[in-house]
């Protein structure tokens, strides 16, 4: 287990070091460093074309990098052929072999590893039980529903206990209800097996719900990496704030008021900043305020006013869209118990000076 020559500490399951890839003049991934400790559930999140799939495919060996290294358990695996890498990949469209039964599909990686027949049968059965498909081993994949096929794909991956499990938008083809259920299932498998999982998605809710850490990617590089709460509460860039959750962004310039207190001067007004908030930016900056930090006709030392243009009822909460004087629109979460204001009403939106995050 303990590497004799690697640079990574033993707890680091996967180390991506300076990995880069370009196709002609198009850079698919800028030199990237990423450390994944053993047992972590890390999500690569980003819009399409952000490099997350390229990174994943290089880790599993389907795409060859132009530079950099991949270390698994401290061993350099950069040039190891796909089939000799100890990784598991769950494909977006499952990639179940249509000519093999469910049990044969799950047994495939074991056969490739020369596992003895008796042991193989037992492990396949265990894997089937683990995904609650014990009774469907003799079926062919196309006889199963989408959710069941996804479970088979998971079982086929978990059955041989690879060092790292990669999942490429595995729930993309499922409907919302089933997707949520499968999220829970994958979390459970992660807990039960203690596997190290790298999960690719472009769905920010999925990333928030499942991950130990999120690696947010944009323009072929890592934008920010941290726990879901970290990224939601303390986005480092406007992109991060905008991509995860709903954000209201006020662009402006940091200055000091007559009393020497920090303020943000924007086209829509001057906003007070707490000392802690102001510390994270200087000069041109954007203030990020979440809808739940804004209050309609409530408390707060900052204020903007505008006209109610829409209300969005989302079951557990109601959001009010307020158009400001400068053509921008902000989103405010309605306080519990408050009835939505009629469209066209003029309202004052307030927030506290220590709410929100400043990004450059």
């Amino acid at each position: 287990m303990s590497p004799s020559h690697g640079t990574a500490p033993p707890a680091c399951k996967l180390l991506v070091d300076g990995l880069t890839k370009s196709y002609g003049s198009v850079v698919a991934l800028q030199p990237t460093r990423l450390e994944v400790p053993a047992g972590e559930f890390l999500t690569l999140l980003g819009p399409s074309g952000s490099g997350k799939t390229t990174l994943l495919q290089m880790i599993c060996g389907l795409v060859e990098p132009n530079g950099g290294r991949i270390l698994i358990d401290g061993r350099d695996e950069t040039r190891t052929p796909v089939h000799k890498r100890d990784i598991g990949l769950v494909f977006q469209h499952y990639a179940l072999f249509p000519h093999l039964t469910v049990a044969e599909n799950i047994g495939f990686p074991l056969r490739m590893r020369g596992v003895a027949a008796s042991d193989l049968d037992r492990r396949v059965r265990d894997a089937l039980d683990m995904v609650h498909l014990g009774h469907l081993g003799d079926r062919f994949p196309k006889e199963l529903s989408g959710g069941q096929q996804q479970r088979v794909a998971l079982a086929r991956c978990f059955v041989y206990q690879p060092s790292v499990i990669l999942m490429d938008e595995p729930l993309g083809a499922l409907d919302k209800k089933l997707r949520e259920h499968m999220q829970y299932e994958i979390k459970r498998l992660h807990r039960e097996t203690g596997a190290t999982i790298i999960y690719v998605t472009h769905d920010q809710e999925e990333a928030l719900a499942m991950s130990d850490r999120i690696c947010l990617m944009n323009h072929a590089r890592i934008e920010q990496i941290g726990t879901p709460h970290d990224i939601y509460a303390r986005p480092k860039t406007a992109f991060a704030a905008d991509f995860i959750g709903v954000s209201n962004i006020f662009r402006g310039r940091i200055q000091q008021d007559e009393g020497g207190a920090p303020i943000l001067v924007t086209g829509g007004g001057r906003f007070r900043l707490s000392a802690a908030t102001a510390a994270s930016g200087q000069g041109e900056a954007s203030l990020i305020v979440r809808p739940e930090q804004l209050d309609l006709d409530g408390e707060g030392d900052n204020e903007v006013s505008g006209e109610v243009v829409d209300t969005v009822y989302a079951g557990s909460e109601t959001r009010v869209l307020v158009a400001l004087g400068d053509q921008s629109t902000i989103t405010v979460r309605l306080r519990r118990g408050m009835s939505p204001p009629p469209l066209g009403d003029r309202v004052a939106v307030r927030w506290r000076s220590d709410a929100g995050v400043l990004v450059s």
């Binding site: 389907l62 052929p81 072999f97 093999l100 990686p109 006889e143």
Partner: protein, 587 residues
């Protein structure tokens, strides 16, 4: 058929029942095939169990085949040659199809054309070319003797037959396997590799198994087509390589022994049908490929055995890779498929290329390379009433055949496209059947029928015979396009006020135009190249171009044949390129 649903409309009751149901559109084709395909073939089979004089039932003709050593040897020899042809076509063709399937789509189109050209080149032209290449003073021996090497005998023996047969069947094998292979999801191979399968294992255990339906279909088609061959064995083989179809022709043309010919035809047809049946049942491919969830009764053991064989092949491949890796190197390994495929493509295209210079030779012999060049053999061709008459007749017959086949097949394809009738599968099979039943069987059956109704040596007889043979090709071409047709557009036309005829003429037909034109051209080429029916049905001066070539080739090879070959080749290629163009723009 009354239950057929029109345009998905839910109108019920009497009106629905009285409506011109779409399946009726197939009726002209069904009637045509019943009279000019099913009846003649069955009649021929009937003749084989009747006494020629008394009409009483008898098994004498079959007993004679089995008892007479010569006939039985020909029977076995036919199966042997057909089997070997299918085997070599698969072995040579599989890597080529594999390579073509993984090319990017645009490059693949160009390369596939190099397979299409020999596919549609007349068998007579191809065989003529091989006679020139393999002959005693042919191209290869010319090269060998120039190098001071002994000149082996390559013609009129099994080698010559096999070269000609495999060359004739290889394009069919490749074109049958290719769609299956392009349909395989390459990500499955990647998936296998991420699961720990070495490239050899991933290929045999995943890709190869998924390609098996194509392999089996290619084996089936090449075997059945080879069974009925007579051009290649007659011209490239010796007496030892006589095949069943040649025997049938002799029985009819020289002995007028219908009953015995019928018995021979029965053997051939039975072999073809048994092969089809084997394909469907014993191979159990639908189970192996996971296609239908056919119950795994009995197939389980077979499947296990198959898996074990493939695992062994995978292990062998891994060993072979280990041994050859140091020799080839990484670059060599990556280039091997392209090099191999190029060689096979050269093998496919070369004969046509060799014929061209000979057409322009100044010599009265088939020397290669020609000692000098002239146009005199084209002058002979264009100055001969016999050749020109045959050419014009072939054009006329092909044109009429193409119109008839396209019309009948088009109606049938439209009828079947949206039918949910339980007759659908049977009708589909009927329209493809003339491709499965050996041509010689159809031709002899038609000859018997035409002799009774006075259609022998008439253009109409030729047109009817050729239409039977061309129907499957036209049907497949149209059905492929109709399958991709968006029927909601027809519904849209209907909601916008178009009646059914207007919808058909203004929406459906323009949209499937590519398929219709392709069908027309394929039918045209089929007829223009056709020899089997022509041998019997075109008599005397009313000869067709292929028949005239055949007669000349049997009597005496001469450079006029080369110039005729070039003319035929150019015409067919032009039509093929037009069809290909239209097919693409039609998409």
């Amino acid at each position: 058929m009354s239950a057929a649903i029109l345009h998905g409309s839910a109108e019920g009751g009497l009106r629905q029942r009285l409506r011109f149901g779409p399946l009726w559109l197939a009726a002209p084709g069904i009637a045509f095939l019943a009279v000019f395909f099913i009846y003649p073939v069955l009649r021929l089979l009937g003749l084989s169990v009747q006494d020629a004089d008394t009409g009483a039932w008898t098994g004498d003709h079959y007993a004679r085949i089995v008892d007479t050593g010569v006939y039985f040897r020909v029977l076995m020899g036919t199966f042997r040659i057909a089997g070997l042809t299918a085997l070599f076509s698969l072995l040579l063709g599989y890597p080529l199809a594999y390579w073509l399937a993984q090319l990017p789509e645009r490059r693949r189109g160009a390369m596939v054309l190099a397979v299409m050209i020999p596919f549609w080149t007349s068998y007579l032209v191809k065989t003529f070319a091989w006679m020139v290449i393999l002959g005693r003073n042919g191209v290869i021996n010319g090269i060998l003797s120039a190098g001071g090497l002994p000149a082996p005998e390559m013609l009129h023996n099994e080698f010559g037959v096999m070269v000609g047969m495999v060359h004739a069947m290889l394009p069919l094998a490749v074109l049958t396997m290719l769609p299956v292979m392009t349909g395989i999801d390459r990500r499955l191979v990647q998936a296998a590799e991420t699961l720990g399968a070495a490239p050899g294992h991933a290929f045999w255990l995943v890709y190869f198994q998924l390609s098996l339906p194509g392999v089996a279909a290619a084996g089936l088609l090449t075997f059945i087509s080879s069974l009925g061959f007579f051009i290649v064995p007659a011209l490239l083989g010796g007496p030892q390589q006589t095949m069943l179809a040649q025997l049938i022709i002799t029985q009819i043309q020289e002995m007028l022994n219908w009953a015995f010919a019928g018995a021979l035809a029965t053997f051939m047809l039975t072999a073809a049908l048994v092969t089809c049946w084997v394909y469907d049942r014993v191979f159990g491919l639908s189970t192996l490929s996971g296609e239908g969830a056919r119950r795994k009764t009995g197939g389980g053991g077979m499947r296990k055995a198959g898996q074990r064989i493939l695992s062994a092949l995978a292990a062998l491949t891994a060993a072979a890779v280990r041994v050859t890796a140091p020799v080839l190197g990484e670059r060599g390994r990556d280039r091997l498929p392209a090099v191999y495929s190029t060689l096979v493509l050269v093998f496919l295209v070369a004969p046509a290329v060799v014929v061209v210079p000979i057409a322009f030779t100044s010599s009265p012999f088939l020397d290669f390379p020609p000692p000098g060049y002239s146009l005199k053999w084209f002058e002979v061709y264009f100055g001969s009433d016999l050749w020109l008459g045959a050419t014009l007749r072939s054009f006329g017959v092909a044109f009429a055949t193409a119109i008839l086949a396209t019309l009948v097949a088009g109606l049938a394809a439209l009828a079947l496209a949206r039918s949910t009738s339980r007759w659908r599968g049977a009708i589909f099979a009927l329209f493809l059947a003339p491709m499965i039943v050996p041509r010689i069987v159809i031709a002899v059956g038609l000859f018997y029928l035409f002799a009774q109704i006075g259609l022998v040596a008439t253009d109409l007889g030729l047109i009817i015979g050729h239409t039977v043979l061309a129907l499957p090709f036209a049907f497949v071409a149209i059905a492929a396009v109709v399958k991709g047709h968006d029927w909601r557009l027809d519904q849209a036309a209907a909601t916008l006020g178009a009646n059914r005829v207007q919808t058909l003429m203004r929406v459906t037909v323009p949209l499937i135009r590519g398929g219709l034109v392709a069908a027309f051209l394929f039918a045209f080429i089929t007829s223009f190249d056709e020899l089997t029916v022509a041998i019997f049905v075109s008599g005397g001066v009313k000869t067709t171009l292929p028949k005239q070539m055949w007669d000349d080739m049997i009597l005496q090879l001469n450079p006029t044949l080369a110039s005729v070959s070039v003319v035929v080749f150019v015409i067919v290629m032009a039509l093929l390129l037009i069809a290909e163009r239209l097919r693409r723009s039609g998409r």
